[in-house]
């Protein structure tokens, strides 16, 4: 089974090679990359953390669902660790007999991964601050950061 999470830089060519099929006339690929701006703040990198085993399984399910729904060959891979601005954090690809299904499958794959896979991003800003995007309120997180030295001693 293909690995769906990796610590290594992503390459679209490798993902596309995985979906190539002479019976399929349409191949689509989507790359998500670290954007320089987030809510008017300058970003230097995004760090991704995952529940690796469960994220792998969830992406396997999403890829399988996409195959059932759109009838082609699908691939998806997501980075963990630090991804610099401009670098890809996720790549999905689909090849299908005709192009509409390939586009639709890519949309299904990326939307499914974003909504369902247990993966979290931590945005690192140019000013040195960083914040998790995980539903924890910013005020609570701010306190946690200040107390981090003490709380780390808690084990």
């Amino acid at each position: 089974m293909a690995e769906h999470l990796t610590d290594s830089p992503l390459a679209a060519e490798a993902v596309l090679a995985g979906v190539g099929d002479p019976e399929h006339g349409g191949t689509a690929c989507f790359l998500g990359t670290t954007r320089r701006e987030s809510e008017s703040r300058e970003v230097v990198a995004i760090e991704y953390e995952a529940h690796r085993a469960m994220a792998e399984e969830e992406i396997v399910r999403i890829v399988s669902e996409a195959g059932d729904r759109f009838g082609g060959t699908m691939a998806a891979i997501h980075r963990v660790g630090r991804v610099e601005v401009g670098e890809p954090s996720v790549i999905v690809a689909a090849s299908t007999p005709h192009r509409p299904e390939a586009f639709a499958a890519c949309r299904f794959l990326i939307d499914g991964i974003k909504a369902r896979a247990p993966i979290w991003k931590r945005i690192h800003y140019v000013d040195g601050n960083a914040e998790w995007i995980d539903g924890i309120s910013e005020s609570a997180r701010g306190t946690a950061h200040i107390n981090h030295g003490q709380s780390a001693a808690w084990g």
């Binding site: 953390e49 996720v90 974003k114 993966i119 998790w132 924890i136 946690a144 107390n147 808690w154």
Partner: protein
């Protein structure tokens, strides 16, 4: 005092940072549901407040907060996700 069971709680993202570790071993009363482990976690974690949309997994399978834990179970607290 009733029977106690041992469970492991996996923490990610803000929760892991606040705890200073990625898993916490707990002893909780037998019959404790997955959704109740929160109250047994370190104050530094509890003070963050758990998002209402948090999901739960036991032994790496999705489950509901009401699922009863058994001795040796591993509970993962899955905060609202943000991959992509």
């Amino acid at each position: 005092m009733g029977t106690q069971i041992r469970v492991t709680v996996r923490l990610f993202a803000s929760l892991r940072d606040a705890a200073g570790m990625d898993r916490v071993e707990l002893r909780v009363p037998a019959g404790t549901p997955a959704g109740a482990v929160w109250g047994h976690l370190p104050d530094a974690v509890v003070d963050l407040g758990l998002p209402t949309t948090t999901r739960y997994a036991v032994n790496q399978e999705w489950t509901v907060p009401g699922a009863t834990l058994r001795d040796g179970d591993e509970v993962a607290l899955i905060l609202p996700v943000s991959g992509g």
